[in-house]
């Protein structure tokens, strides 16, 4: 639970020595409670107070790292319940499960398929993050072989799924240096599994059954090892949503330490489409890792898009680089469209233009990532500014004509733009969805 200024004051030397820069110890305590200063400013604080207060000032949800360097993923360290309060920082990792019942070429083919779950979309490359190997066989050697086959073929971080310490030990012997996530310590096996986690210095998932049991088990484990991820063990979607919301709430609002760790979720359905639906709930509501079996590109792409959207910073409009974009096999006669560099606007326009199947240029003007009307209202998307960028962006050398299409919402700038640039301006549709019909009518 978060400490109040008075709680902190009780632990300070109460000498009012002023060496911390505050007039009194109480003032210092108040500043600490408000996270406006740090404990190391006090030269006289006792070791015991440091331990108690250090814990209280740690982030509400621990940052845990999984995977070898270069392919490492960071989990947790979130500070809000709602993205509009600040932002979500560490996107949910998507982990695809592989059974150790597969072997030989079958296993190789499966790893290759999962490895290929990377996508180019809206100018970015996104992919899954982890491969989870599950010890379905119950045999430690079979598990180790499967782990090795996966480790040989993938750069993704791995999750080792087995509650059998013997199997886990064999798996870690193969891949322990790449920081896999060990899944899982349970009430039955935690002493042995924690020893393995310490030995290999790997993050460890603690699996309980419901909130109370999980918190109790985490407390036992955390007494000696703190690189933890939580699984509440609940697979019923509604109950899991309630519990995962509660975990985030207790961690952030109450600084409840036993639940202040990233959370891992598993889809329960055997139907890949239903798994995607479950996973979409876990991406919006607080999972740091979601493990699933669905492995088709067509199924994973929508999830990566959702994750990207939910984890964008609401305070920072996403932008594309202001420049000329070539859509399709353009020539010197291809039409030229102009829009803003707000990525949402740009990619909506780009989608429609490429859908029109008529090779075209799109000029994304520098508008600081604002949309057409906002940019126009702010004077960033008027005749003068667009004319300047027409000169600067190099389009004059790319096409032999001087015709440009502007968004319908800024029809009023037509005159000024023609005058300043010398280009002939055509007013396009107000909504991007009108572009294919417009393109067909004007340029086909």
């Amino acid at each position: 639970m978060a400490l109040t200024g008075l709680d902190i004051y009780k632990l300070l030397p109460k000498t009012n020595c002023k060496e911390c820069g505050n007039p009194t110890c109480l003032a210092f305590a108040m500043a600490l409670a408000a996270s406006k200063t740090s404990l190391d400013k006090c030269p006289h604080v006792s070791e015991q107070a440091k331990e108690t207060l250090g814990g209280a000032s740690a982030p509400p949800i621990k940052l845990v790292k999984v995977g070898k360097s270069g392919y490492e993923r960071e989990l947790g360290d979130e500070v809000v319940l709602f993205r509009h309060d600040k932002a979500f920082f560490h996107p949910t990792c998507i982990a695809i499960e592989i059974s150790d019942m597969l072997s030989g070429t079958e296993l190789e083919a499966k790893v290759e398929k999962v490895n290929a779950l990377a996508f180019e979309r809206v100018g970015q490359t996104v992919s899954i993050d982890m491969i989870a190997v599950r010890n379905d066989s119950g045999n430690p050697d079979t598990f180790a072989n499967a782990v090795k086959a996966v480790a040989d073929k993938t750069c993704f971080a791995t999750v080792l799924i087995s509650e059998d310490p013997a199997a886990m030990e064999k798996g870690l012997a193969v891949i322990g240096s790449s920081k896999p996530l060990i899944y899982a310590a349970t009430e039955a096996n935690y002493e042995k599994i924690v020893e393995l986690a310490k030995k290999y210095d790997c993050p460890l998932a603690v699996k309980g059954e419901g909130l109370d049991a999980t918190a109790a088990l985490v407390e036992k484990v955390a007494a000696s090892y703190k690189e933890l991820v939580i699984d509440i063990g609940t697979r019923n979607l509604s109950q899991a949503l309630a519990e995962m919301t509660q975990i985030r709430r207790l961690a952030i609002k109450k600084r409840f330490r036993p639940l202040g760790y990233p959370v891992i979720a598993f889809t329960a359905s055997d139907n890949p489409r239903d798994e995607i639906m479950e996973a979409s709930v876990y991406i919006t509501k607080y999972a740091s890792v979601v493990v699933m079996k669905a492995d088709e590109k067509s199924q994973i792409l929508p999830l990566t898009a959702l994750r990207m959207n939910i984890y964008t910073d609401p305070q920072k409009p996403s932008q594309v680089e202001p420049k000329v974009y070539q859509i399709g096999a353009v020539t010197k006669d291809s039409p030229v469209y102009v829009t803003t560099n707000f990525s949402l606007t740009y990619y909506t326009v780009e989608g429609e233009i490429s859908g029109s199947k008529i090779p075209s240029y799109i000029i994304a003007c520098p508008t600081d990532g604002t949309s057409v009307l906002t940019a126009w209202a702010a004077g960033k998307f008027n005749g003068e500014k667009i004319a300047e960028f027409l000169k600067a962006c190099g389009i004059e050398d790319m096409v032999s004509h001087r015709n440009i299409v502007i968004p319908g919402y800024v029809a009023v700038i037509k005159g000024a733009l023609e005058e300043k640039s010398g280009w002939k301006v055509t007013v396009g549709p107000a909504e991007a969805s009108g572009l294919p019909a417009f393109a067909k009518a004007h340029f086909a």
């Binding site: 996508f119 509604s238 919006t284 929508p302």
Partner: protein
Amino acid sequence: MPVQVLKERNSSKVTSITLGATKEQGGTRTGTITVGGEASLPFLHFEGEMPNKPVIAMEVVDRVPEEWNEELKAAFEGVMDSPAAWAKKSVEEFGADMIFLKLQSADPELGNSSPEKCIETVKSVLAAVGVPLAVVGCGIDEVDNKVIAAVAEACAGENLLLGFATQENYNTIVAACMVHKHTVIAQSPLDINICKQLNILISEMGLPLDKIIIDPSIGGLGYGIEYAYSIGERGRIGTLQGDKMLALPTLGTIGFEAWKAKEANVGIDEFPGWGEQAERGILWEAVTASALLQSGLDILVMRHPEAVKLVRKNIGDLMVPNSL
């Protein structure tokens, strides 16, 4: 140590609104639908009741939407030239809770249908299905003011859900709803302040708040869904804290937004890296719905029957009571 569960004590809840009217109530529907009433964030049954499940309204258009994706059109093959048959199939075969009828052919460029023709279409759909009906115009204010007013009068007492009232154009449609006993869709452009302002303007005209459904506008998956998601959350939080002018059920045109995305439409031949199109399109729509269910949407306007099926199961799973 047992966990001290933290429950929010919410002071207020979403207004419950009933759509459609049975014979006894002055309409012809075989059943009505009630939406809203939530006293917590979405599906957190442990701290507030959620008396009504979110519902799926399937979209029907009064002209053949040639521009729709082939995959979508295939699902409605043989019925797209008849709104009544299309609606009937949507309800009987695909389990739609409601029908969302778009009178697009009123657009001078898409058929220029007269108000009389539009009334005929609405009546044919009312005759074909027993579920409540939402009816919206073609999106051109002058046309819609004539068409929707005429439909409101011709279907007086049905408690249709009529749209769209916007900040620029709400008088005619709101008056029609008041006089002929319908419910209105108040549409705002992804802006919670305009959303609230419009509800104030409409209720100042005399339409009670329990006759207003909010369409806050949404972005589809990949194209601005996060704005809609956060506006949904902010609206629900405001509602729970007692803001009456936000405390209304919400509607989102999921199918329309999702199927605008390139990712839902392009073939695997063009984008081999994105996988098979049919599956991708269906999930693009279903995940758009799923995310917005998590931010509090009450009425989901959808297109693809397979996406509808997935979302119905998702709603069912999430309506299972949870407790802490």
